[in-house]
Symmetry: none
Subunit: 402 residues, 2 copies
């Protein structure tokens, strides 16, 4: 389908803004109650629903709870059942690293080894971040592997990222974490017979061998495990797929990273939603498509704090007029998944979506929420179709066939 | 999916009528207004919606604006993302030619060549149809290629069709139109290494070489370009796919041609909707399935004439009782795509569909229009599923599995 859309894509000067209120879909606290969106006072979001067309969207597929990676890939029009972002690549992306085609990223954990070389603590006592950061720095400076650029980067507590850069590396290497204590870390094993995977496994083995020598005097973090070996998925960029120059506006590095994986430029360094909207305004002329990410609806959902999530929805609502004032030709508000405060986690429940555009077929929906969206003109659909709809409403798709 | 349906298909004497009101889906002229269907006074179509089950349908996929070819293939149950009708085959079909398996069809343009053999006018001054028709006749008589039947057929103004008939011809040849003036037409180049394509390219080269000699004294049309080389797509017929003997009733050759591509017989030579319904009545006993095509809803939409399109809907409405009086076991009314007068072109907006049958699960929809259909029992679906629903409601599909 993406290939078909790519062939039909045509450029014009119309602008599309996709506002993603992370995890905004929710659940009522009790039967008969209201969801977070139904509870929130959001006249401007409701106004969009009145003037646009709405629907319910499964960002991956019905019943599937999306991680942030698959959720956003779906929104961006890349089928998350086809394109997978490996855990290493996602972790690297999450700390703001833009992976290139020769990079293999690995999520690593410091662990504690006993005198026999067996793992006694798989998380090295969850050592504090400042302590692990300085150990990571030593590894980054001291590990030297011929013909390979090795970067070792801190994440948090016992977690860090390793990136190998060289030509001819594959992402298919099995985790070295044995998932239990009392045994040593596993050797890095290549998947199948692919020589590219064998290259990576060999380098990982060398990395580990040098690392344990460098770490041998550390009281807790004297070993490590390596997981989620992965390369950047081989996806067309937004420019290649849609002919769109796309800008990503987000506070959190993870979402800036996800956007950059599909070739969006990250714009500005906003620290709040107000600053995100300012960034949008300041860069309005430079892009055809804007992805604007609002994190805190998800964060408060993850906290299980219903009322705080309602407040985060209302904070977004207040800024909708400022976004509309810029005159986007297509304005979409939706989410990458639901994060009901009741569950304090991502969930599989479909998310509401509203699209406002000159040639949208306006439906009777009057509110921006989960139940109102059921009777929306967009029906219930998979997020991977959203970009096609966005492009169509911006007159950016030619007719299919004569 | 088509293979599954084919395996389940079973014959009986029930009759299915699919009425296609071309481009009937529309848009309100202004926000808060009514679409063409909502504006029209169509008690009989509304009566079908009341007594049947409705839904909204994307003939290709959400956000995709269908051409007439893909739109109808979808309605006929052939996935238009899988089966493509090339431009040459569609143009030949549009002038009423039924392509066989050994035919390659090409849409050609007369062009004007200057003294150096470069194109000075890509459309030969849009010469009048009667003038080009007589030049086409000369080409048809004079071009002779060994072992190949060559037919040259007029279309309109500078446009004509060439059909090569021989065994071992492929449809993969690139356009010879350089898309600009000041350069000669391109040589016909085969796609890839396929010998079938090379055969066609060689014949096309010979055709062009003879044509420029024959045309050399023409003041305007002294050259030509060749585009959209294509064969009939390799699809099962209606009989093979569904076990249906199908008749097509349409005024325009294009739609008769599209129906014949899937093995329908074209019935009668109606010149109006009244004559189409008469044709249906006169041939009622001879077919299991009827495709009845009403063109003018699309034409008036293409004209951008909202009120005239409303009138065309009302003209269809008046004849619905005459169709119902024949007692179809399954009666479907829908469209191949939307053609909102507001846009004066085909569009991506989904089309309403209503199905009336003894065993339809009647839903609460009371009107035949875009917004009423949102809450229909058929939901929102891709047209490629419509034939399965038609067959099911006619008891023509066996149970799947035990």
């Amino acid at each position: 389908m993406l290939d078909v859309v790519t062939k039909l894509a045509q450029k014009n000067d119309k602008k599309i803004v996709m506002v993603v209120a992370d995890g905004v879909g929710g659940l009522a606290k009790e039967p008969g109650g209201k969801t977070e969106l139904e509870t929130a006072n959001c006249p401007h979001l409701d106004g969009l629903a009145k003037r646009g067309i709405s629907g319910l969207m499964n960002t991956v597929a019905p019943g599937i709870t999306p991680g942030s990676g698959p959720g956003h890939l779906g929104l961006f029009g890349y089928d998350p059942l086809q394109y997978l972002i490996g855990r290493g690549a996602l972790e690297a992306t999450g700390i703001g690293e833009n992976l290139g085609p020769n990079d293999v990223a690995i999520r690593c954990n410091f662990c504690t080894l006993d005198a026999d070389g067996n793992i006694s603590d798989r998380r090295a006592g969850r050592i504090p971040t400042d302590e692990s950061t300085s150990i990571v720095k030593i590894l980054n400076e001291d590990v030297q592997i011929d013909g390979v650029e090795v970067r070792v980067l801190p994440v948090m507590e016992h977690r860090f990222v390793v990136i190998f850069t060289a030509e001819g590396l594959g992402g298919g290497v099995l985790d070295t974490d044995p998932q239990k204590t009392g045994v040593p870390p596993l050797d890095p094993q290549p998947v199948g017979d692919c020589p590219l995977n064998k290259n990576t496994a060999k380098i990982a083995k060398e990395f580990y061998s040098q690392a344990v020598k460098i770490l041998k005097d550390q009281p807790k973090a004297n070993g490590c495990t390596m997981r989620g070996f992965s390369k950047k998925p081989d996806m067309p960029t937004f420019e290649e797929a849609y002919g769109l120059k796309a800008g990503a506006i987000a506070v959190y590095p993870m979402y800036r990273g996800l956007a950059s994986l599909v070739g969006m430029e990250t714009v500005g360094s906003p620290k709040s939603l107000e600053e995100e909207v300012e960034t949008l305004r300041d860069n309005w002329d430079d892009y055809d498509f804007f992805f604007l990410h609002w994190k805190y609806t998800d964060s408060r959902g993850e906290d299980g704090d219903f009322d705080a999530k309602v407040k985060m929805i209302e904070e977004l609502d207040v800024l909708i007029p400022a976004i509309e004032a810029l005159g986007p030709d297509v304005l979409i508000v939706t989410a990458d998944h639901s994060t009901p405060a009741k569950l304090a986690s991502h969930s599989w429940h479909p998310v509401p979506v509203t699209l406002v555009a000159e040639d949208a077929r306006i439906d009777p929906v009057q509110k921006f929420d989960e139940n109102a969206a059921i009777c929306g003109g967009l029906g219930q659909f998979r997020a991977v179709e959203l970009m096609t709809l966005a492009l169509a409403h911006a007159d950016k798709l030619a007719k299919y066939g004569a």
